[in-house]
């Protein structure tokens, strides 16, 4: 009877722990203990402040202290009866610990610790060797091998960030081969289409075999998956009654095989009792031998335990891969966000003839909305707002590109021409698959506003407590239709006129019944804030939108840009005599 205690795989992604103690006591199961705190105390009884409690009368209450020093970790004898021996030498004063140091406690050979570290600086090969030492195979005792496999599982969790997956899988297979006494072993993993593909293959001599030359019996694999349990087949030729299906087996003259299907063990453990039996199939361990009946003596429980362990390793490594991938993406997104935020004009500067405030609130990490304000050499101020279709990284990329292109207006290009150029550019590269709506205005100190629009909702004009739209009717967005053309229009602003530029994330904000905030509500809110400072006006609109949507998650970017025209100045910048 095999007692199989499944230690739940640890997925410790915190980088802090890099050193461990391998605890080997003659009568205790071998275990790896992370040195989680410094100083780290070892002794009998946890009530004495010991982090590693060795409940053994041969151990003194205060036995060892491990503390951090510039060179690494330092071990000191705290009063162990009979002394502490590191690599056979008695510890008289403290010394720095190195990977693999053997620590004997007292005079008894049965009390033994090994120091394990996985510092970043050590080469991978070292660690691989270490891992294979850690689980070094001694043929013969399946139970022992299984314990070593458990150890490997723990080591997988501990060393995951440094070890290539292939070497973890190879070690796992080497164990499976030793446990079953097979000639070779393969780890098969399910690919995206659900087919089992050989991922790693190893020989009894611990040599890698080329996965593509492997030809596992699909018949036996299918059998194991259908029965959801390990299958031992002592004569494959008999099993493969279908000659065509059996072809691969005949070709290689293989006689016997063991297939252990691997299922997601987390789910099985965490699932309620009524959980359906079909767990997620991760893959299979396939072992075969040219000898006849080498597997007949195999204990089914050993095989099941092997399957559970191998599945944990596979599952664990997958989780790690996903986690690493997720972290990488998150990091890149946050870089994208930093870039985008850096491109939004920082600390909007007021100009002599206008006050400005703006906000961009993306609904995801990065967004497709943006606004910009920049002065032209002729004294006019460019104000622009843009909304790229879609959201997320794709939209943000195009928004950034547009921003760069439009900043070229400072070179004196005609806005309508720039719009036409950008439209052609994007349409010719149709695969970009995104378009944008935009409003671009140039505000002269004398109050003339020249503007070009591209499918963007009309900014609202607040003049003496009344709200109107700058324009009605449509215009072509940028990058949607090739033959589009754009024209510039002009209006005259009066002192204290306020222009509110916005994106449809404002008017299309939804409440929980999916009603839209709408233009009318926006206009009403604007009227209510006539005479307010721009900051107050902006926060008033934001809170009106928030109050409307209540708990509904923001589904689109929200961008506002408010511009107030002040009393006109003459060409040299002196304030004209003008009553306000």
């Amino acid at each position: 009877m095999v007692e199989f205690s499944h230690s739940k795989p640890m997925l410790n992604l915190a980088p802090a722990v890099h050193a461990y103690l391998e605890v080997m006591f003659s009568h205790l199961p071998r275990q790896l203990v992370p040195i989680s705190k410094l100083p780290f105390f070892i002794g009998r009884g946890s009530e004495n402040g010991n982090h590693l409690n060795l409940d053994d009368l041969r151990i003194s209450r205060k036995c060892i202290a491990i503390s951090a020093v510039p060179e690494g970790l330092r071990i000191e004898d705290q009063g162990q009866v009979g002394g502490i021996f590191v690599n056979g030498k008695q510890l008289t004063e403290g010394r720095t610990l190195f990977e693999g140091d053997s620590i004997r406690l007292g005079m008894d050979d049965g009390c033994h610790l090994v120091f394990r570290s996985s510092s970043e600086s050590r080469p991978i090969d070292d660690r691989r060797a270490e891992l294979s030492n850690l689980v070094a195979a001694k043929a013969g005792d399946s139970q022992l091998e299984l314990n070593r496999l458990t150890l490997l599982l723990e080591a997988t969790s501990l060393l995951h960030s440094q070890l290539p997956l292939e070497s973890i899988f190879s070690s796992m297979l080497d164990h499976a081969i030793v446990i079953t006494r097979a000639d070779r072993g393969m780890l098969l993993e399910r690919d995206a289409s659900g087919t089992l593909q050989v991922k790693v293959a190893r020989s009894r001599e611990r040599i890698n075999l080329a996965p593509e030359t492997m030809n596992p019996s699909r018949t036996v694999l299918r059998q194991a998956i259908e029965q959801q349990t390990a299958v031992i087949n002592e004569d494959l030729q008999l099993a493969d009654f279908n000659v065509q299906a059996a072809n691969s087996v005949v070709l290689q003259f293989l006689r016997s095989a063991v297939v252990v299907p691997l299922y997601n063990v987390h789910r099985r453990n965490d699932a309620p009792a009524q959980w359906p039996a079909h767990d997620e199939l991760l893959g299979a361990v396939y072992l075969d031998s040219r000898r006849t009946a080498p597997f007949s003596a195999l204990d089914r429980q050993i095989l099941d335990a092997l399957g559970a362990q191998a599945a944990s390793i596979l599952d664990n490594t997958r989780l790690m891969q996903h986690e690493r991938e997720r972290q990488r993406l998150e990091q890149e997104l946050s870089i994208a966000r930093q870039i985008q935020q850096a491109l939004v004009p920082q600390g909007l500067q007021d100009y002599p003839h206008l006050a400005i405030t703006g906000i961009h609130r993306p609904c995801q990490e990065v967004g497709g909305d943006y606004f910009d304000v920049f002065p032209l050499p002729d004294g006019r101020i460019a104000i622009l707002i843009a909304d790229v279709a879609g959201k997320g990284l794709g939209a943000a990329l195009l928004a950034t590109m547009l921003q760069g292109a439009l900043s070229g207006m400072t070179l004196g290009a005609e806005p309508a021409k720039v719009f036409e150029h950008l439209n052609r550019f994007l349409c010719e590269r149709a695969v970009v698959g995104r378009y944008a709506t935009m409003f671009f205005g140039l505000l002269d100190p004398d109050g003339t506003l020249e503007f070009v629009r591209a499918g963007h909702p009309s900014p609202l004009l607040l003049r003496q407590g009344e709200v109107s739209e700058l324009y009605h009717g449509g215009s072509f967005p940028i990058g949607l239709l090739e033959p589009a053309s754009y024209t510039a229009s002009r209006i005259q602003l009066e002192p204290d006129d306020t222009l509110l530029l916005f994106t449809d994330g404002v008017t299309e904000a939804e409440d929980k019944e999916r009603n839209l905030f709408g233009r009318i509500r926006l206009m009403d809110t604007l009227v209510r804030h006539s005479g307010c400072a721009l900051d107050t006006l902006q926060s008033g609109i934001l809170s009106a939108v928030q109050g409307f949507t209540e708990a509904v998650t923001q589904s689109d970017d929200i961008t506002l840009l408010a511009v107030r025209y002040r009393r006109p100045v003459d060409a040299v910048g002196t304030v004209a005599k003008h009553s306000t």
Binding site: D387, A389, G390, K391, A430, G433, R434, Y435, T437, G455, P457, G473, G474, S475, F476, P477, L480, L481, E482, P483, A484, D504, E508, R514, L516, S555
Partner: protein
Amino acid sequence: MTLTTESMDGDITRVLLDGRLDIEGAAAIDLRMNVLSGSAKFLLIDLRNVSFLGSMGLRSIVVPAQAVRRRGGKVALFAPVPLVEEVIKASNIDQVIPVFHELETAVATLR
């Protein structure tokens, strides 16, 4: 978002869209709209059951429509609700793809 098609007399394919053409809705129909744009000669896009048209949704209509037109076909939009028609007009799309509220007129234009 659902998309169904029916064949009408005169080589017209009527595409009935139903639901919200937001980002998710657009993603749901994009592939089929692309297939249609490669095969249909006259396309009648029936929008009467589309309750919302977002910018990605607009793209899902305009890009296939342009593909049909490039192949010498014709496209018409039919019966958008006011909110949806507003989006179409704000983008000037109605200048390129005509919008109809009467089926007979739409069909007559396509033939």
